[in-house]
Assembly symmetry: C2
Homo-oligomer: 110 residues x 2
């Protein structure tokens, strides 16, 4: 379920990282202060929700954002929001603000 997947700050942080670029599982895990297995589980949940896709190349699994699921859920939510068109700047603000999942998630500093 998309919303359950988004409910966890670690997973939102992962999505934010993948917004920058596709990443290998190990690299996704690197900034977090938790085990690789935990991150692997999170990636499984994100994948199950359709929010990311995983593609194996050699022994490395590449993760990339799958924006459709988010768009879909966003449509649902906008149904309640009375459809004022959304502006890009607001998103930038959130990424630098308290809504920022990176701050909430237990990221290693450095």
């Amino acid at each position: 379920m998309v919303f359950s997947a988004l409910a966890d700050p670690t997973r939102r942080a992962i999505l934010a990282m993948l917004l920058e670029d596709d990443m290998a599982v190990t690299d996704v895990a690197e900034p977090f202060e938790m085990s690789l297995a935990a991150i692997s589980k999170h990636l499984g949940i994100l994948s199950e929700a359709g929010l990311i896709a995983r593609e194996k190349r050699g022994r490395v699994i590449w993760c990339k954002l799958e924006p459709d699921a988010l768009r879909t859920a966003s449509v649902w939510m906008q149904g309640f929001g009375q459809f004022e068109p959304v502006d890009l700047d607001a998103f930038e603000r959130f990424l630098a603000d308290e809504f920022n999942p990176i701050d909430e998630a237990g990221l290693a500093t450095g």
Copy 2:
């Protein structure tokens, strides 16, 4: 947290009901096959997430949708969705489709 609040099908069903009109707690609970106390908890979570507001008039507490929180979260999600403007019809389809929370939630039939 908005996304945790949205993660539960009962709560999404409640939001869909409130989209129609403001409702008293008892009336919100009526179609569900669970106790009033359970619904009261759900309303507390929705309220905590800023998704609804509750106003006491006499002994009745009226619940109404608070679309700002949804708009806010929707903005965040659209940040990942590459910002194609969203159309209203899509929302209508969801309400009649598998994304419909009313079907997922344990609603009494009739």
